[in-house]
């Protein structure tokens, strides 16, 4: 859970800092080169596992609002909302028509991760103490965990950039041999004009 949140927030971060990532791919790191107010996107997530004959498909949407509000929501197969707002992290699952907060595994770990993410949001992706970043000519950016403990959970992450816009096309998280999670983004909106994202989006659903 802890690692997943890292990844989810990393995705949001990467989407948010499109100019930075593009610069990274060109080995020309720039800091805070674009003023980001918000990012929203839909995603389709494909889970592959050696034991699965068919992948598990999830669908959802995320909304990021600067400086640190995030709503990461799954519509299917399980309706879930992960919220980050003003340093507070919560997770809600829909059961019997109602959203119920879950205080299960990993919720406390989220707080620890959040402080790390905050550093990412302020700085350069190459400076992250969590991941080593490499760029490839084919538009992929590879993130490799520096920490051996994290490396047991995530072997690497591949980010695929859209050719022109610099926004993300997909994120693939490799957990181990034959086990991966691929998120494909669509309908990404950066700094939506004419509509302010209400802060309620990051409160209890």
């Amino acid at each position: 859970m802890k690692s997943l949140l890292t990844v989810l927030l990393l995705c949001a971060f990467v989407l948010m800092t499109q100019a930075q990532v593009r610069a990274q791919a060109q080995a020309q790191v720039q800091k805070n080169s674009i003023s980001v107010e918000s990012v929203q996107a839909y995603f389709t997530q494909e889970k592959q596992l050696p034991i699965l004959a068919r992948p598990i498909i999830s669908k959802g949407r995320f909304v990021f609002k600067a400086p640190g509000s995030l709503r990461w929501e799954y519509f299917s197969p399980i309706r879930t909302v992960l919220l980050m707002d003003d340093g507070h992290i919560s997770k809600f699952i829909k059961r019997d028509g109602k959203f119920i907060e879950e205080h299960g595994m990993g919720v406390d770990s989220m707080r620890i991760i959040l402080s790390e993410i905050t550093g990412w949001l302020d700085g350069d992706i190459t400076d992250t103490p969590t991941f080593r970043v490499q760029s490839r000519d084919d538009g992929f950016i590879i993130l490799t965990p520096r920490d051996a403990t994290l490396a047991k959970i995530i072997s690497r992450i591949e980010l695929k950039l859209l050719d022109q816009s610099g926004l993300m096309e997909s994120v693939t998280i490799y957990e181990g041999p034959g086990s991966l999670t691929r998120m494909m983004f669509s309908a990404t909106v950066l700094n939506e004009k004419g509509r302010k994202i209400p802060q309620e989006s990051f409160k209890k659903p």
Partner: protein, 230 residues
Amino acid sequence: MSVKHKNIVLVLYLLLLSSCTVFQTPNLPEIIEWQSMSESTHRQIQQKCEQNYFQGHYQFVHSIVFERTNGLSTTVIGVTVIDGETLKTGLLGVEGFVLFEAVLTKEKELVVNRALPPFDNSEFAEGLMRDVQILFRAPPDDNLFIGHLVDGTPVCRYFQQEGQITDIIVHEDGSSRVNVYDPSYEHIRTIITGSRIVVNEEMIPETIEFEAYGLRGYTLNMTLISVDKM
């Protein structure tokens, strides 16, 4: 309240607790032999009990609400693959991260491919696989007794080699109740499957409620997400 009275209240409380425990884990119920049962009726009841399980190659994906006796609950995605005599299982976070993945080979060897904390201990792995077997594997029918409860409900009672006893009751609508007892006749597990729905031309229970008794008891409320016959 005096110390003496406090002690009496404590003793009464403990007695109440222990009596509750007895009600929660009733002993093995009596099964009455049918006075006259044709061979075809016997076969019919046995078939119904066996149809509670799946044979062949299936992939099930469930949403599982894991609830402990202290009221804390967590939702995960459960993957179960029945691959002939091999049983594969995986637990994923709702976001898709793999928490646990293991295979029970046809030689009954348990191979854990991945186990993140707090699932990274052999006790959990063995316990989980035992429960998965209870859920998805029909007990061996070498020692099967078919009878009925006092109220006339037909029951298949399977006596297993290691002393475990499994009672299966299948209702007319396809829903079922499975009670599992340990060798000392202690009621250790209950599985209640909901009525069956048609998925890919198969009759599959939409919901499964699994209850494990004891000090570290828990409940699994499983809702079918998908099933694939392979």
